[in-house]
Subunit: 367 residues, 2 copies
């Protein structure tokens, strides 16, 4: 890799365990020159883990004025992230930001309008599922005709969210944007579905709130039609109660043969074809043809490292990036269409970057 990109890190929460280790490991590609957090102690804690010198900021505007930086890494909650992306794009900085692209398609389009006049300015919207080896393996198996004509896809995502650190972040527990976890987590699933199956043409969904601790809703059942004609079911619930694991209960489950059904409880994905089926989970793909089963164990690459490498190649070498804002916009547009469908009881077509409204917004930005 060529010369490191001097980078300003915005946010010292989630980024500390996820972004910072990846960036430290890529010291030939990036140099974290500054860290912003409204809480000085958090910014200083991150700075302390980095090879100096690292400047610390508690005001966003001051941080963005830091001389010598070329890019920002936005790891903030969804709403302040959009404001920070706008400010950074307006200053001509390259941006690496966490998914979703924004809190709404409308806001995402406004941000894209800021970037439009400067095509060399890279905006990278991190989406680790586009580096999920399982999804790529599934895509390859379909393309190579292994299951004949794909007919249907079942994609359940079942998560006891209350046992995860994400549930602990206050901004996720009281989301100021539509959809809550259904949006925040949903864009991952849609990214994987689009990677495997192509663009989504129409959607419909029913949404339900079972657990009052998970506003505004925690459960969704949806149908999707893809441009290829394929039809699919996508379902989500975050309302599963956590299970307390003891070493003994795990041993018993393994011995009793319950391990597989227990794992399946969290949602085994299934693509049905005329001549076979593909089942997949996070770490394995199973191909079933006739009475024959082939299991592919999928190694988990460090998806964060690969995304920063991809971003670096985009900035330094002008290479096309895998996580373009267009991809991220389309992921979000499908989720927004699902929420609209559920709210208005309509079958809904996801917005596209190419839609008239979007093009005119971009043209407006360029004039």
């Amino acid at each position: 890799m060529s010369r490191p990109i001097p980078l300003l890190l915005l946010g010292a929460g989630f980024s500390r365990g996820a972004h910072v280790p990846a960036l430290r490991g890529l010291s030939g590609a990036f140099r974290i020159a500054g860290v912003f957090s409204r809480t000085r102690a958090k910014a200083e804690a991150v700075a302390g883990e980095l090879p100096g010198p690292v400047e610390v900021f508690t005001e966003l505007d001051r941080a963005l004025e830091m001389p010598g930086i070329e890019a920002v890494d936005v790891a903030l909650p969804i709403l302040p992230a959009s404001d920070a992306i706008a400010a950074a794009l307006g200053r001509g900085l390259h941006v690496f930001s966490e998914k979703p692209i924004a809190e709404s398609v409308e806001r995402a389009r406004a941000l894209l309008t800021l970037q439009a006049p400067r095509p060399d300015q890279v905006w990278y919207v991190a989406e680790n599922f586009r580096f999920w080896e399982t999804a790529w393996r599934v895509r390859e198996l379909i393309a190579s005709g292994e299951i004949g004509t794909p007919l249907l896809c079942h994609y359940p995502t079942l998560v006891p969210i209350k046992s995860t650190p994400w549930f602990q972040t206050q901004w996720r527990r009281e989301p100021g944007y539509a959809g809550g976890f259904l949006l925040d987590g949903g864009v991952h699933d849609i990214a994987a579905l689009r990677l495997m199956l192509g663009e989504v043409s129409h959607v419909s969904a029913f949404v339900r709130g079972v657990d009052p601790a998970l506003p505004p809703a925690d459960t969704l059942a949806a149908s999707l039609q893809f441009e290829s004609g394929l039809v699919a079911n996508y379902s989500v619930s975050y309302a599963l109660e956590p299970v307390r694991l003891t070493p003994w209960s795990v041993v018993k489950a393994l011995l009793s043969g319950a391990e597989r059904p227990v794992r399946d409880r969290f949602g085994r994905k299934h693509i049905v074809g005329t001549h076979g089926s593909i089942f997949f989970m996070h770490d394995r793909v199973e191909l079933v043809r006739g009475l024959k089963r082939t299991v592919f164990k999928v190694r988990s690459a460090d998806m964060m490292v690969r995304q920063f490498e991809d971003f670096h190649a985009g900035v330094r070498a002008g290479q096309p990036i895998r996580n373009s804002p267009r991809e991220a916009l389309h992921d979000l547009a499908v989720i927004e269409a699902l929420l609209t469908s559920a709210r208005e009881r309509t079958v809904t077509r996801p917005a596209r970057l190419e839609d008239a409204a979007s093009l005119s917004a971009l043209a407006g930005g360029q004039s």
Copy 2:
């Protein structure tokens, strides 16, 4: 049981392997007095298997004029079945007919209007899934709180229909009614879903025709919302290609551990609750709570015999029947709503017997 019901059998195709053996076994409850088929040889073949005397008819009107019969068993293709039911109801005969109740909700309502003035006249719409022990076990497990609050249901039905006798019937291969196999087979699935989860409030679906041998469509992905608030995904494909089985391939599959995934290929149903999951197939129910799995093997009762017993008790003892036309109408109404949703790209509410239009039709019939 009391005095046998003298019965006229309409149709000598499907009935021969399904209805006739059940009726023969219930000779204390039923006596087949006449058999109608447009093909004399088929009617005579069935009559020859029965303890005489049995009259043979090749004209429906003549058959229905047979003196001494109390009931008809309608085992005809869907469209002529509706005509035959109308004729039989009009003559005051009790009717046992195969699902679906009719080719459309509109036609079903017209038939119900014929029955309305004579509340003692029993119309029984056979639906074996309402005697499916698996569905009853699932219903009990949910009611007893075993999985906490039910969140989601996944109900896939994946059938290589071209390897079944149903594909061989000409009227199914060129259906003169909406939906084809999606309707003919779908009412079974909806009966089971309603039995387990209650009434369906709204549906949406996308439909697809992959195999030109299966008009008008063979594949469907749907979302359902139940009155309880539960949301569900229902999916169907009849377009799976048949797998040729050899004894050796079966042994190999069993030895390699592929038996379970191969079986799963045809659709394992899953109900997700806050505190556990229920997986089920035709012959087994698995309850997964935490890391514990409990398997219930479900014995398969002779569902046809049980339905004729139920019909007999309805006719002779005036007992409420499990397969009332109301139930059958609601099954069909959900399928019709799914097809409407797919055709018109709308979220659709299934018609109900209690709906205004239906009530006025019934009132009209009574005036």
